[in-house]
Structure formats: structure tokens, C-alpha cells
């Protein structure tokens, strides 16, 4: 009788194997905090040669060292980051995350460490300006789940202006699509735009939309791990020691570093006095 024994053996081996990987996959070291990043979002976070690099990565590592935290990074696509934080699959969110009122309802922000404005990026040889790029049937690319997308939806597509929005998983892909001619412009934060130009991509900034949007780190609502105070202190320490400016200039030379902590909007509950770890601050 052929193969009957082999069939049963293979089946059993397969079952043990899949259960084994399940078991191995589920085990996790305790007390190591998982920091969620979107690792295709230069200059804030990306992967090069197998290593995590970027402003948020370097800063987070320094803050962790300063505050005695054990961390490991986890890469998730941008739209998954906030759900992951809400579900406590990650403990800290460290990426170029804009503080918005909707987000403040579901997660807890640290004090802002950066301020961005949005820019409209167009191909280098285009003659569109910030107004003509965002009108008249143009298609503008944004990153899915981003504040730029929310801003565009609130202020542009919902009004009389005739513009289509196209969502992308990452800005880099959006830029590529634009250079391929599929969309006419991309709405992105100014640091990322500067990064693309520095990298030599044939794009230019058509105009700036002044948002003065604060960027901050985040933890799960209610700060279940008690990390908020440490992170806030860490951010302030990083800025005061000058290391923050060093890190930023590593990636975006020549840019002005806004003061830390940045402007704290009133609608964020974690910015009410006393702010965790910085009791003198707050609204």
C-alpha cells in the first residue's frame, strides 16, 4: 500500500508545525514597549539596509535611553497605526503624527515636538501654483488616514472646488504616481517634501498652506502603561540638550527647528494643566 503512512505523517507534521509557529509567534518579552512606526515615511521613519532609520526613530531611541525604557519598533501601514494603538497592539506611536481633534478623542498625545505646514508638491517642470494645482478637475494625492487628507476633505472637496482626491499607502508612491502623470499634485507635510527634494526627485513646492499643525508622539487613550509623563519629559530633555536639533539636521539640513514643546491646541485633553510629567505646562 503506497503512501498511506507518508500522508498521515505529513499531515501530523504540518499540524504540529503550524501550531508551533502560532505558539512561537505569540510569545513576547514582557516590559518591552512596542513602538509603532510607518517605516516608509522618510524622513520620519524608513528602513535602509535592514535598519530602522529616521528622525522619529533616532529621537525615540534617545528618549527611551534617557527615560530608561526598553523599546522595539514595529512597522505598520499608516492607516493601521491608530487602530493598533487603540487596540493596544502597540504601546507608543512614533511617526510624523499630526495632532487633530478627532485623533485626540481616541489616543493620548504627548507634547508636540514639531510643527508642520502642508505644502502642495508638483513636478519640477510644472507651471501649476498652489491655487491652480488644487482646482478645476485636478486629482491630488494624499496619504490614506493622514491629516492632509482630512484637511483636503474638510476644506476643498466638500466645498465648491472641483478636485478629486486619490489615497495612497505612502507618500513616496504618491510622488511616483505624480511623476508618472496620473495625478497633478500631492498634498504633503513640508518636512517630507523637503526630503524628497533633497533626495533629488524632480519635484518642487508650489505653495504652502499654513496650518501650523503640531506633531507629537502618542500612547493609548488613558495612558494604560503610564508612559505619557516619561515621554513628555524625554521630549523636553531631548530638545534642551540640543540633541533634537542634531537629529533633525541629520536628515533635513538647514531647516529651522521649531521650539519644543510646540503650540498645544486646546481641544486636546492631555494638554490641560497639569500636563503629565511637565506640571507647569498646560492650558
Amino acid at each position: 500500500m503506497r503512501f498511506l503512512g507518508l500522508e498521515t505523517r505529513t499531515l501530523t507534521a504540518g499540524l504540529i508545525f503550524s501550531l508551533g509557529t502560532l505558539g512561537a509567534a505569540s510569545s513576547q518579552a514582557a516590559d518591552t514597549y512596542t513602538v509603532g512606526v510607518e517605516a516608509s515615511f522618510p524622513p520620519w521613519a524608513y528602513v535602509e539596509g535592514g535598519e530602522y532609520k529616521g528622525i522619529a526613530i533616532d529621537a525615540m531611541e534617545k528618549i527611551a535611553e534617557d527615560q530608561g525604557l526598553d523599546i522595539e519598533f514595529k512597522d505598520l501601514p499608516f492607516p493601521s497605526l491608530i487602530p493598533a494603538l487603540s487596540a493596544e497592539k502597540i504601546d507608543i506611536l512614533a511617526t510624523g503624527l499630526t495632532v487633530t481633534e478627532e485623533r485626540a478623542k481616541v489616543i493620548d498625545f504627548t507634547v508636540p515636538w514639531w510643527e508642520t505646514n502642508d505644502v502642495i508638491v508638483v513636478p519640477k517642470d510644472s507651471d501649476l501654483n498652489v491655487f491652480t494645482a488644487v482646482c478645476c478637475g485636478a486629482t491630488v494625492g494624499v496619504q490614506g488616514g493622514s491629516s492632509q487628507k482630512a484637511w483636503m476633505e474638510a476644506n476643498v472637496t466638500n466645498s465648491d472646488i472641483d478636485v478629486n482626491l486619490k489615497s495612497y499607502d505612502s507618500y513616496v508612491t504618491a510622488i511616483t504616481d505624480m511623476l508618472n502623470g496620473r495625478i497633478s499634485a500631492v498634498d504633503v507635510d513640508d518636512t517630507s517634501a523637503q526630503e524628497y527634494i533633497n533626495e533629488g526627485r524632480p519635484v518642487k513646492i508650489a505653495g504652502k498652506i499654513f496650518i501650523r499643525a503640531p506633531l507629537a508622539l502618542a500612547v493609548s487613550k488613558g495612558d494604560p502603561q503610564g508612559l505619557l509623563a516619561k515621554l513628555n519629559q524625554g521630549i523636553v530633555n531631548l530638545a534642551e540638550s540640543g540633541e533634537w536639533a542634531t537629529i533633525v539636521h541629520n536628515y533635513i539640513p538647514g531647516v529651522t527647528v521649531p521650539s519644543v514643546p510646540g503650540k498645544m491646541p486646546e481641544y486636546v485633553d492631555t494638554y490641560r494643566k497639569p500636563v503629565a510629567g511637565l506640571p507647569d505646562l498646560g492650558n
Binding site: 499540524l15 509557529t21 513576547q28 508612491t173
Partner: protein, 224 residues
């Protein structure tokens, strides 16, 4: 550094991503095999009662009908409330349960294409239902199932690339890293990745055909 130098330097990471994808593939196919076979056997030879058969039908509808990304989210985020589950484990479960729904269909067809007389003769000799399935039907069903199963294999290879949405760093995601860190070169990088997927697919198919040849019995396909 031009793109080819980067690819050369980062090729080990692509291979690492490929390794992750292959382990995920093996695990989900194994899980799907066990689930699919179990469902098939209960549907064909188990109690005909509604309380047994109806949940199986629902299972199949759900896992075939819900988009893969949603299923991944459900297992990764949705289960988070009940117990802690890693990305990799969630991916195995989501994709494995789904594969089970498809594989049960494959096995059902395979078992049903066995002439009814085989079971009758087995039972008439005094074999229990379990013995008849194990020694007479299953070896024949497996031979019928290999062809369609090759399709399932090819299908699932492609679907492992969706696991990145819950944070599994497999081949496609590794390619994404290279693209973002070099700000472009989409075509080159993905051409390499496509080639890797193609190789895996081809290797798998060849393996399955070898298995089919090895199990072949003279005149098996002929009806008596």
C-alpha cells in the same frame, strides 16, 4: 548608490522577507488542510443534522466572502480584546481559516468523484466508516485533489503579501522599504520581487506534479 547596488546590498533582506512569506505560506496551508479536510469529512460522512451541518456552511460563506484585509484586521485587532495575538499568528489564523474554506471545497469534489461502489465494497467487508475513509477513500481523494490544490497553492502565495497590513514584514513590504529609502525605482524593485514570487510558484507546482506522478496508479482515472 544606484538602484542595482542597493538591490545587491539589500537582497538578503528581500530573502528574509521571502523566508517570512514562505513560513507563513506553509503554516496557513497546513492549517487550511486540516480544517478543510475536517469540514469536508463532516459534510460528506458526518451527521446530517442541521446543528452540525449548518455552522459549516456558514463558516465557508464567511471565510470565502469576506475580503482578506478585513479578515486580517479582524484577527489582529478584533481578537485583541480577548487575548494577545502577534501579527504573524493573526496572519496565519486569518489566512489559514480562509484557506480551509477553499480547501474543503477541493476535498469535497475529490471525495465525490470517487465511485460510490468503493465505499460500499469497503463497508461490505466489515470496515467501519473511519476505516473506509482512511484506507480506501482518502488515498483516492488525495490523488483527485492534487490538481485543484495547485491552484490553491498559487493563490495563497499571492495572498501572503497582504499580511503587511497588520505588520508582517514579508517580501512585498521589504521591497517597499527599498523603494521608499531610495525614493523610487518602483519598476526595478518590483520586477525582482515578481521574479521571486514566480520562482516560488514554479517550484511549488513542480513539487506537486512530482507528487502526483509518484502517487499515480495505472489506469486510476478510468471508471470501472
Amino acid at each position: 548608490m544606484d538602484i542595482y547596488d542597493v538591490l545587491l546590498r539589500d537582497f538578503p533582506f528581500l530573502l528574509k522577507g521571502l523566508g517570512v512569506a514562505l513560513v507563513l505560506l506553509a503554516a496557513l496551508l497546513a492549517l487550511g488542510f486540516v480544517i478543510g479536510l475536517a469540514i469536508c469529512l463532516i459534510q460528506l460522512y458526518g451527521p446530517r443534522t442541521r446543528v452540525v451541518q449548518w455552522p459549516l456552511k456558514v463558516y465557508e460563506r464567511v471565510f470565502r466572502g469576506v475580503p482578506i484585509i478585513i479578515m486580517l484586521f479582524i484577527f489582529y485587532y478584533g481578537l485583541a480584546g480577548i487575548f494577545d495575538i502577534s501579527s504573524f499568528a493573526a496572519a496565519i489564523l486569518a489566512l489559514g481559516f480562509r484557506s480551509g474554506a477553499y480547501q474543503s471545497q477541493i476535498f469535497r469534489s475529490a471525495f465525490q468523484s470517487i465511485p460510490a461502489g468503493q465505499m460500499t465494497a469497503a463497508r461490505a467487508s466489515g470496515m467501519t466508516l473511519t476505516q473506509a475513509i482512511r484506507w480506501i477513500l482518502f488515498p483516492q481523494a488525495i490523488r483527485h485533489a492534487i490538481g485543484p490544490w495547485t491552484n490553491e497553492f498559487s493563490s495563497e502565495i499571492k495572498e501572503t503579501s497582504l499580511a503587511y497590513v497588520i505588520g508582517v514584514v514579508e517580501l512585498t513590504r521589504q521591497a517597499h522599504y527599498i523603494i521608499t529609502s531610495t525614493q523610487g525605482n518602483v519598476l526595478t524593485v518590483f520586477a525582482v520581487v515578481a521574479l521571486l514570487y514566480f520562482i516560488v510558484n514554479k517550484a511549488g507546482n513542480s513539487g506537486l506534479y512530482w507528487l502526483e506522478a509518484r502517487l499515480a496508479v495505472p489506469g486510476f482515472e478510468k471508471r470501472q
